[in-house]
Symmetry: C2
Subunit: 187 residues, 2 copies
């Protein structure tokens, strides 16, 4: 949730990237605009206009070990999204809106795949869906559905380094994904 100010001659998206980098050392992440918050009373010192963005990174323990790179960001820490401590100002509302938005967008944007490494197993994919939707899904039905969509490329590779049967790896065919969902508006 930490944010900071956009410089005068800096594009807003570049500021998001810079601030994320300063907080975490992460670069080249997927991000999307969430919503703008401009209430006169949201900050004690007067109106602060926040344009909130979310960024999604690949699940990967090494990434969670990144550290703030500037002094004034030293307090930044990672938390599980369903178990976040008390936040400053209206940041809890921002987070809640973000989770709701992610649930909706999960159905037509490649959100889940931005959270996974390039090659992933179906179980990993299901765990991401379950985390975002905050409910459990049936394994067989989930696999059937994903495989029917036709945007998963089955690889000739399996997981390595696991102490049980290694699972098959898949890749996203982003072109097919987008094609599948671009005109797909239900009502």
């Amino acid at each position: 949730m930490p944010g900071f100010f956009v410089d005068n001659d800096e594009e807003m998206e570049d500021a998001v990237k810079r601030i994320l980098y300063e907080n975490t050392g992460l670069k080249d992440v997927f991000m999307d605009q969430l919503h703008s918050f401009a209430g006169l009373k949201r900050h004690p010192k007067g109106r602060i206009l926040t344009v909130a963005y979310y960024a999604l990174i690949q699940l990967d323990n090494t990434k969670l070990k990144t550290k703030p790179v500037t002094n004034y960001m030293k307090q930044a820490k990672w938390f599980p999204v369903r178990n976040v401590p008390e936040l400053a100002f209206d940041h809890k509302q921002i987070l809640d809106l973000c989770l709701e938005r992610l649930q909706r967008r999960l159905a037509y944007k490649p959100i889940a795949f931005e959270l996974l490494p390039e090659k992933f197993t179906l179980t990993q994919l299901q765990l991401v869906y379950e985390s975002i939707l905050n409910k459990t899904l049936d394994k067989r039905n989930f696999r059937k559905k994903m495989q029917n969509y036709g945007f998963l490329k089955e690889l000739d590779e399996v997981q390595t380094g696991v102490a049980y049967r290694a699972a098959r790896l898949y890749k996203l065919d982003k072109r097919k994904f987008l094609k599948h969902f671009q005109n797909n508006v239900a009502f």
Copy 2:
């Protein structure tokens, strides 16, 4: 698409209401935030941060005869959304994003009903859906689906002043609508 500046001690939503009023004379409208635009090059005089909102008003010819109420808004005019003249700056992109967003939100927010008078016919409702989705729908299927949702209250009234068989009027039960869609996230 005309916008204007938020005053120093004015809530952003109040500014939207005020500016809409100054442009059209309309008050008490439904509105929702769309997206923020802050590109350094979107305006020749430097960065203008626009927080775009859309407002929805009831389809009603009297409302389209409203006039700008301040001098500097004199050029404001109504256009059909699918037939808009060339727009300034990035306003076409803003409009396009708005239409796309409306299509998505139509499925889980009472968008269609904000565009209708309190009492409406099923044909009017279908026309709103068709306009937003930009495609024709089957009459019987549409009616079946809407009636199955269970959030339409059938009234004991019919249209008046039409030169053909008068259609039955309906009302939205907003509580039931919201209940129906709040937890309804597909994937």
